[in-house]
């Protein structure tokens, strides 16, 4: 059924094909065929392109893992004639054994988890209360207070660090010779109990809950307090889970503030431990990259597990929040 361009009218709908002036003189079949070929080629190119970029993106992870299993000679190219190998010639599990012995993983881990849990609980409580007040209760100055809070979002956190440092110092929490673990924890937890962005996020979520539910709860004799915990919090659970995970990730990654306020290395968090640990050979002065990479693998794996289990919440939370921690 080869038909020329001149009488293609009427074919368009049946063949489900779009023709344009450029294609004048061609038959429907050749156009179809050409389109199919272009489609296959462009699909292949797209996949090749995207897979290549994906490989580039995961390359650092791959390199981290294989380097953590190499001997120092292989990493520096000494045993391979200056050539880098893409898979360890001798798999050195002993790197991990060494790191577990040398790197005080458990101390940093405990510090990080304690700080993460308490700062998350505090943040969730203040966020829930504030979001409830802003979304459901009426009071004088509600819009003003909310506007002031939103404006503080523009201020870079780095600006406050300096003054917060003076503040916690005036509380006597960072005396370099007498700081206790509890004071160090307080420094790392209390200033981060409020997140204006999470309040904003949860308020939007609370506002979507229909007012009829509130009135129904009132008729049933529920107080505001009961209504908040029995109705609103369960309904907003996904947002709260997102907030908790992002907060946890933030603590896991925080570096500068703990570095500033912890006067004892044993009080610091996992990132500080990782950066501060010098896996340097005392005799030769060469950094033992194998040990170092084994330590980075140990720090990265928990985050990956978190991501595997809570992918949905993390990606949705990030999509809306757009901030780390």
């Amino acid at each position: 059924m080869a038909k020329t361009y001149n009488n293609f009218q009427g074919q368009v709908l049946n063949q489900n094909i779009t023709l344009s002036i450029k294609e004048a003189g061609k038959t429907v079949e050749t156009i179809k065929k050409a389109e199919k070929v272009t489609k296959v080629i462009s699909t292949i190119i797209t996949y090749a392109f995207i897979v290549a970029l994906a490989l580039l993106v995961i390359f650092p992870f791959y390199w981290m893992i294989i380097t953590s299993l190499k001997s120092l000679d292989e990493i520096t190219g000494m045993s391979t004639g200056g050539r880098q190998t893409y898979f360890p010639e001798i798999v050195m599990w002993s790197n991990y054994v060494y790191v577990f012995q040398k790197f005080d993983f458990s101390t940093y881990m405990v510090n990080t988890v304690v700080v993460a849990i308490f700062s998350t609980i505090g943040t969730l409580l203040t966020t829930v209360f504030a979001a409830f007040a802003f979304s459901r209760l009426r009071f004088k100055g509600r819009e003003t207070v909310f506007a002031i809070l939103l404006m503080t979002m523009m201020i870079p956190g780095e600006m406050m660090v300096l003054s917060n440092y003076i503040t916690v110092a005036s509380f006597g929490w960072i005396e370099s010779d007498s700081q206790t673990l509890l004071q160090a924890y307080a420094c790392m937890i209390v200033p981060f109990w409020v997140s204006v962005f999470y309040i904003y996020l949860l308020r939007q979520n609370f506002k979507q809950i229909p007012n009829e539910l509130y009135l129904a709860a009132k008729v049933d004799g529920k107080s505001d307090w009961n209504y908040l915990w029995k109705v609103m919090v369960p309904l907003a659970a996904p947002t709260l889970i997102s907030i908790s995970i992002l907060k946890f990730m933030g603590t896991w990654n925080s570096y500068m503030w703990p570095q500033l306020v912890c006067k004892n290395e044993a009080y610091q968090l996992i990132s500080n431990g990782l950066r501060g640990s010098s896996f340097t050979n005392a005799d030769t002065g060469i950094t033992e990259y194998g040990y170092r990479m084994a330590a980075t693998v140990l720090v990265t794996v928990p985050l990956f597990l978190l991501f595997v289990f809570f992918r949905k919440y993390i990606m949705r939370g990030v999509g809306r929040a757009g901030i780390k921690g």
């Binding site: 779009t18 995207i50 650092p60 390199w63 009071f139 780095e158 003076i166 204006v196 309040i199 990259y289």
Partner: protein, 377 residues
């Protein structure tokens, strides 16, 4: 009177819960007016009967919560936030600005002797200051390194990462198989410990590392690197780290685009590049604008990547004899003072922080102006 009492008795009988005897009701009866339970739309109140004793068996509640314009309970709910925000957000803001302008600020006393612009002058290298060992010195790090580094990082990484994120997002959006899987792969850099991966980049760009090996070069990228050479691994790392978020935002933008635009372009047999430039980019302009502004603000605050790759604000490392801190950024400058010279130089850190704040404020204002006046479609 009698008639009313009978009426009340009947009413209370109606509202008496099941199982409660008539006698019990009449025993406590003191006359309950006929108030229907539930939400009264006219008066905008919720009415309910509470309590076991019929004497107290009605109370109008809910007025406070629903209709009142001034609910003191709300302030109870807000108290933790108001207190914490005042101590850790508003007070620091004012205090930092004050310290930046304070004359002869004393860290121990917590105040200065007046107001001045000298601190900014010192930070910008226009004025001499007395350093910790009592000598007069000129601050050169901020002008020579912190500002240029920050500007270079911002103007290299932000456009580059947005461009890459855009083509990856468009490609991801056009494929059918493994879309979710690949999307997850591209998100991976987001869920990492910044310090850990920075150290991996240091290994990759090591002098004996894989990059020099692949390209048969022998360049010092990290240790003892030239100032601008060290910017290469740094910018690559920042781009790598910032792409996932941008892809996520652009992809969700793309999924909201009406397919009709593309069908119309197909009828006009527009080329793929043209479709990308003339349809996709303009339709995504709100997202791109948002990413540009947040990207610039983020790049102005860059310091974590330098710590993670180099371990110190200098290519010579922390153990180097050189005091030239050639990898400082604006924020790193502030932190560096806090970590090492908080007693004597905190006012200069404050001045640096105020300059950063001003830059970010200008960018935010531009954003709100642009997003209001220019919508691209």
């Amino acid at each position: 009177m009698l008639l009313e009492k009978i009426k009340n008795l009947l009413n209370s009988k109606k509202s008496a819960p099941n199982g409660q005897s008539e006698a019990a009701v009449s025993l406590f009866d003191t006359g309950i007016p006929d108030i229907p339970q539930g939400y009264d739309q006219e008066k905008d109140v919720v009415v309910r009967l509470v309590g076991k004793k019929p004497t107290k068996s009605y109370r109008v509640s809910g007025i406070d919560d629903v209709a009142s314009k001034n609910n003191w309970k709300a302030w109870l709910y807000l108290a933790p936030v108001v207190i914490l925000v005042s101590i850790f957000l508003l007070y620091p803001l004012i205090n930092t600005i004050y310290i930046a302008f304070a004359k002869e600020y004393s860290y121990i006393k917590g105040y200065g002797t007046g107001l001045t612009l000298d601190n900014f002058g010192v930070v910008l290298g226009l004025k001499e200051y007395v350093n910790a060992s009592g000598q007069r010195a000129t601050e050169t790090n901020f002008v020579n390194f912190a500002i240029p580094n920050t500007v270079v990082i911002a103007f290299v990484t932000v456009p580059l990462s947005i461009f890459l994120a855009l083509i990856i997002a468009v490609a991801l959006n056009s494929i059918k198989w493994f879309q979710k899987f690949l999307q997850t792969v591209f998100f991976l850099p987001y869920v990492t410990n910044g310090i850990a991966i920075g150290m991996v980049f240091a290994v990759i760009f090591d002098k004996q590392g894989i990059i020099n090996n692949l390209f048969h070069t022998n360049i010092a990228w990290i240790q003892n690197a030239e100032h601008w050479t060290a910017m290469v691994p740094l910018c690559i790392y920042i781009v790598w780290n910032s792409i996932p978020f941008k892809i996520l935002i652009l992809l969700s933008g793309l999924q909201g685009v009406d397919k009709q635009y593309y069908q119309a372009a197909q009828i006009d047999s527009a080329s793929k590049g043209k479709v990308l430039l003339r349809i996709t980019v303009p339709l995504l302009s709100p997202q791109i604008l948002y990413l540009m502004i947040t990207g610039f603000i983020g790049a102005f605050k860059e310091y974590n990547s330098i710590i993670s790759i180099f371990g110190a604000p200098s290519t010579a490392g922390s153990g180097g004899a050189s005091t030239e801190k050639n990898l400082l950024t604006v924020v790193y400058y502030v932190y560096d003072i806090l970590e090492h010279d908080s007693q004597t130089m905190i006012q200069y850190a404050a001045a640096g922080a105020v300059l950063l704040f001003a830059a970010i404020l200008i960018f935010t204002l531009i954003q709100s102006k642009v997003s209001k006046s220019r919508v691209y479609y």
